[in-house]
Amino acid sequence: MNIPATLRYTRSHEWATEPDADGLVTVGISDFAQDQLGDVVFVELPEVGRALAAGDAAAVVESVKTASDIYAPVAGEVVAVNDALVDAPEAINTEPYGAGWLFRLRVADAADWSALLDAARYQAVAEEG
């Protein structure tokens, strides 16, 4: 199970990059999550400009098995979405931490990110299933 140490995670299996100097955070789903879902066939992305609270349903990732809500790991405004996923949703399976990213937020408070799960704690969550 691939859990990069540079990222932070949620119990609902999203990952988020550390806020950069402009407060931008990239969000996706973990390797564990994509493996659980199976072949991803459809992605519904949030509208750019939408303000999200932490825990808001922001996107939907569908596999043949099920549709999963993807939640905003931290509060922020959607500034970009990964439109390439509309035609190639399988990138979530093949590169969950790269080409499979979902959306980018501008966060109000960088400290929110630090409060998310680090790789070791997320690994424990994933191992519980």
Partner: protein
């Protein structure tokens, strides 16, 4: 693995649904469908009895041939969908859905003992009980479906019989690596293929031989996407105790001859019809989602839906108000509160 009517069954094998599904469409895949139930109906009245009990016409069958049929209740609905195989005029093997074996058996036994009152329901012939015996043989058979355009070739290499001589809906008793096997040219995928009835103790060896013959193992998920692309019903979803088959694409099964429950089916009206829908976009229409008319009014319900692994289109079977059932009608499926537009399209969905 998941629990399916008391059977532990794989949803998918490690290669995944997409790979399994396409193996069946382009090559050959196999499914362990040993959970299906088998009932033996034997006796001198087997033909008139099954003719009375089911909606298709088993009198049309000759020895060594099979027939898809429906088992009606007396309320204009269904108890199960079945496959009948005629071994002899007085000996039929009936394949039922796993969860329905007990109710189907009970119903058949009850109908046999009731018989048909002379002249009732326009029925011909004798009053009194039918002379048949119903026996549950589910534990005597394992069932492996081998499906796909190369199924006959791959299977043909490992069995004694010449499969080119076994036409659709026929079956042959032969041997596979020395093991007795009944091969019926039937299936649930919309592809050519066979269903192999084997002794339960032989099933692991048969599976291994088929693996070595290049047949890809497939799980429940691919079985569902394949049958849905082919537009086949799944009991409990498209077909239920309340489903009038005349309001579905399976109306062809209902034949013009006396049958138990037929009066209620013929008296029923189709306020809603079961149709196929193809969406413009690719959200997945799932069971229970509402169908909407172009003005957003709820006019129906999805019974099964998926993204076709073959065509990459979102497809569904759904009940819709009869006014929206014509092929080409525009409507939508409500997906997470939003209308996903689509068109009424007659299945199968996988053929051009």
């Amino acid at each position: 693995m998941v629990d399916f009517a008391g059977w532990a069954m794989p949803v998918q094998y490690p290669t995944g649904i997409q790979h399994e599904h396409l193996a069946v469409r382009h090559d050959a895949g196999m499914f362990d469908v040993s959970h299906m139930g088998q009932l033996r109906v034997r006796g001198p009245d087997a033909i008139p009895f099954l003719s009375w009990a089911t909606l298709n016409d088993p009198a049309l069958l000759k020895d060594g041939r099979g027939q898809y049929t429906l088992l009606p209740n007396d309320r204009g609905g269904l108890i199960d969908d079945l496959y009948l195989y005629r071994e002899a005029a007085d000996d039929f093997l009936v394949v039922a859905n796993a969860a329905n074996v007990a109710p189907v058996r009970h119903h058949l036994e009850q109908l046999a003992s009731e018989g048909v009152a002379a002249g009732a329901h326009g029925a011909p012939g004798s009053a009194g009980a039918f002379e048949v015996h119903v026996r549950d043989e589910s534990d005597d058979w394992a069932l492996i479906a081998v499906q796909g355009p190369t199924a006959a070739v791959r299977l043909g290499r490992v069995v004694e019989a010449d499969l080119t001589a076994v036409r659709k809906n026929r079956f042959v008793d032969t041997r596979l690596s020395g093991m007795p096997v009944r091969l019926a040219r039937t299936g649930y995928t919309g592809e050519d293929g066979f269903e192999a009835f084997v002794r339960p103790g032989d099933a692991p060896s048969v599976w291994q031989v088929l693996l070595e013959a290049g047949v890809v193992p497939c799980g429940l998920a691919a079985r569902d996407t394949l049958r849905l692309e082919a537009g086949f019903p799944l009991f409990g979803h498209e077909l239920t105790a309340d489903t009038n088959p005349r309001c579905t694409p399976f109306a062809w099964v209902v034949k013009d001859k006396p049958a138990y429950g037929l009066d209620a089916i013929l008296a029923g009206t189709c306020e809603r019809r079961l149709v196929g829908i193809v969406l413009d976009g690719r959200p997945i229409p799932r069971e229970g989602y509402h169908v909407l008319d172009p003005d957003g009014r709820r006019i129906g319900t999805v019974t099964s839906g998926t993204l076709s692994p073959l065509t990459r289109r979102s497809i569904a079977l759904a009940w819709v108000d009869a006014a929206f059932a014509a092929e080409g009608t525009r409507l939508a499926v409500e997906v997470r509160g939003q209308p996903a537009p689509g068109t009424v399209t007659a299945p199968p969905f996988h053929t051009p």
